[in-house]
Symmetry: C2
Subunit: 199 residues, 2 copies
């Protein structure tokens, strides 16, 4: 004896959400049906709206319903500073710090030959074109500090070997507020190697 | 600088799901848009389908798109045994044990005067009517072992004070596979008080 077919279908489709297993999906389905039917309908229409209208910004490749996203079209951003990221979430994380006023380029992934993800899929040709246009003075590589993220950064640096643009990589080290004791060895090694003079 | 309006709307509406905070909602929205757009559309249509078509079974009050649910309309269930539960999830949990062949009555909640939930909201009058019809021989009270669940069971017992139907309460005790050491005092007290003779 299972749930009724429609309910079972709802439980199954809820599992397409990341981090949602069979039990959570069941709890979500029952919660929506028993206590929040307007919420369920609002969610359904937000999903359809988003899927149908959100594409990517033609300049930075982030998710946006406009051809050029708010950041790329803003007059107050510094267009000489370009930050390269793996995903729109990373872009949000940097925006939320409020400490960066340049523009972005979102790779939407990292180089991963095993999964068939090459430079084309990441739009690296478009990134290089943009740098060739000469407006950008500094390229900040902010891919993730993982093997794939490092490889992707390394690849971009290689491609720009003969180009005079300044290239930087975000600093890796001990997280602010963290305790040395709980920091992994790789990070600690980075923190030591990247030490800065105080006086 | 926030997400684009449509994306922000999707993130906000995802938060109507239980257990989904701002960070998970963001992760879900980006996952759907970047990697699983067909899944998002399937979820949207499952939500609309479920909300529009799933009502409650006219006999047991569980969620069902049919007027009478599969269990209530089944010919192979024992209609003399009625199990009273707080929610459709509890019904699923009991069904999944495969050890119960009676029928159910779902209260969809528990008595909670503070929230304005009285006997009417729980359909207790319908439950009593059904018992009055005389087909039911045993009423198994399987409300949750919480203060409200116990109070609800107690209320039902009170209402049936002059009725000859047999009334039982599910056993409370040490969970199978659990260790005594980690069982709370209340449960342990129940387990001792409800001890059974082995020979």
């Amino acid at each position: 004896m299972a749930f009724s077919p429609l309910l079972q279908n709802l439980v199954n489709t809820l599992r397409c959400l990341p981090g949602v297993g069979p039990k959570s999906a069941q709890r979500m389905a029952l919660h929506l049906l028993e206590r929040d039917r307007p919420g369920a309908l609002a969610l359904a229409s937000a999903l359809v709206d988003a899927v149908e209208n959100i594409g990517e910004c033609s300049q930075c490749r982030t998710l946006s319903e406009d051809d050029v996203c708010d950041i790329c079209s803003s007059q107050s951003r510094d267009r000489t500073l370009l930050c390269v990221l793996e995903s729109p979430v990373d872009m949000m994380a940097i925006e939320q710090t409020g400490g960066f006023n340049g523009v972005y380029f979102v790779l939407k992934g990292h180089l991963s030959p095993i999964d068939g993800i090459g430079p084309d899929a990441l739009g690296i040709d478009r990134l290089l074109d943009r740098i060739d246009q000469g407006e950008i003075e500094e390229l900040i590589l902010a891919t993730n500090p993982t093997v794939e993220g490092e490889a992707t950064s390394h690849y971009i640096v290689e491609q720009l070997r003969d180009h005079p643009v300044k290239i930087t990589r975000i600093a890796h080290g001990v997280p602010v507020g963290g305790e040395l004791e709980f920091v992994d060895g790789g990070t600690l090694a980075h923190a030591l190697a990247g030490r800065r003079s105080l006086r």
